[in-house]
């Protein structure tokens, strides 16, 4: 079978060229129509693609929720890690505030008792002060619930005596309960490195299983500040006694201290 081709330069070439032009126009129209359809947001989406888009949207939503939960979890973990530090700072602030606001000896001792009961969780304890002879400690306050084993302790005798003599705290972080001879903690009270007294803790509350490093920080605060508060209270009492106990003389003491160069006025004069 043979195939006839149009003769060159005949009418067949023209028809072929016309058809080709027509096809190109149709192709151009279709391409343009497709472009418009693709850009139309309301064009119907084939079912397969619609499901895929829904899944992608859901994945994006879940990713967003996951990120949100992760950031909340991170914040909670950070907060939990910072909590013991915040608790410690709160306790130190409250303890320091109440020790330094007390101006008489009884108020200082009351503040110390409250701190031991409420911030440390000590159930039984006693506070001893150094006698005038500098050789014995005498009990001045307690929360024992029973008569003390001894109200006067020679320096160097037992754990408390050694703590008093060396000025170094004794701290047992493994026990909840002890007794007079075997306390869970013993804290020296000092002012300018001079011993003024000792706190002895015998037992912690039932819910407080043992002393922690936070308690140790609190003991350090007590050791360094309670002595100074006691000294201030004793000096104030001595001054008031010499001034016949009249409250107005407290202001005189502040003015005298300033004139003597101990107060802010004296300091300024010294710098001038």
């Amino acid at each position: 079978m043979s195939r006839k081709h149009p003769a060159p330069g005949g009418g067949g070439d023209t028809r072929f060229a016309d058809a080709l032009t027509c096809l190109r126009q149709v192709y151009g129209d279709l391409t343009e129509e497709n472009r418009i359809l693709r850009e139309d947001p309301e064009r119907p989406v084939p079912p397969g693609i619609a499901v895929q888009q829904q899944l992608e949207q859901r994945i994006a939503r879940l990713e967003s929720e996951k990120n949100d939960l992760q950031s909340r979890l991170d914040a909670a973990q950070n907060s939990r890690q910072a909590a013991p530090q915040q608790d410690l700072l709160t306790n130190l602030y409250v303890a320091g505030y109440h020790i330094h606001r007390a101006v008489d000896l009884q108020a200082v001792l009351t503040s110390v008792k409250e701190i031991l009961l409420n911030l440390v969780g000590a159930e039984t304890f006693a506070i001893y002060l150094l006698d005038g002879d500098g050789a014995t400690l005498t009990q001045v306050a307690d929360e024992l619930g029973s008569p003390p084993a001894a109200t006067r302790i020679p320096l160097g005798e037992g754990i408390m005596g050694v703590v008093a003599k060396t000025g170094i705290s004794y701290f047992d972080g493994d026990r909840q309960a002890g007794d007079f001879h075997n306390p869970v903690a013993c804290v020296p009270l000092k002012a300018e490195e001079q011993l003024l007294g000792v706190i002895q803790i015998h037992r912690l509350f039932i819910q407080k299983k043992k002393l922690t490093s936070q308690d140790n920080e609190l003991f350090t605060l007590l050791a360094e500040t309670v002595g100074a508060a006691m000294l201030t209270a004793m000096l104030r009492r001595r001054y008031l006694q010499s001034a016949n106990g009249t409250a107005g003389h407290w202001g005189d003491l502040i003015r005298e201290a300033a004139v003597a160069g101990d107060g802010p006025l004296g300091g300024e004069r010294g710098q001038a």
């Binding site: 915040q86 409250v94 009961l117 509350f205 039932i206 819910q207």
Partner: protein
């Protein structure tokens, strides 16, 4: 959350200070202090209270008596109440919760635990309302 008014019932000034300081976590809150249960009732006559934190062992009127009175009074029966006490014994905790306290915190109080406990009580109450 709108600023709340807390009533702190505690005979120890140190503890009132500690609890009040911890509650500053709730921005804009007001803190009213009472030294025992009877003082708390007097304060409540003058101030609208949103939340009560009370010690158990107090002179004149203890915390358990206060919780009982608040729960039996129509105007205060729905108040959130947290009990704070030195006694960690199970019996004390049970008595407080049986009287209607929402939660219990043992002494020595940790500021962070106190804040979390108050937040939990508020969240649980919101959940019940929803």
């Amino acid at each position: 959350m709108k600023p709340m008014t807390f009533l702190v019932v505690e005979d120890s000034p140190t503890m009132r200070h500690l609890i009040g300081f911890a509650l500053r976590h709730f921005s804009g809150c007001r803190i009213i202090e009472a030294v025992d249960g009877a003082d708390a009732l007097r304060r409540m006559a003058y101030d609208k209270i949103d939340f009560v934190l009370t010690d158990i062992n107090m002179p004149i009127m203890d915390g358990l008596k206060l919780v009982g009175l608040l729960r039996s009074n129509a105007s205060t029966s729905a108040l959130p109440i947290v009990i704070i006490t030195t006694e960690g014994a199970e019996e004390d905790r049970k008595r407080g919760l049986a009287l209607g306290a929402d939660a219990y915190i043992p002494k020595p109080v940790e500021a962070g635990l106190l804040v979390r406990t108050v937040e939990n009580v508020l969240r649980e109450r919101d959940a019940v309302r929803a």
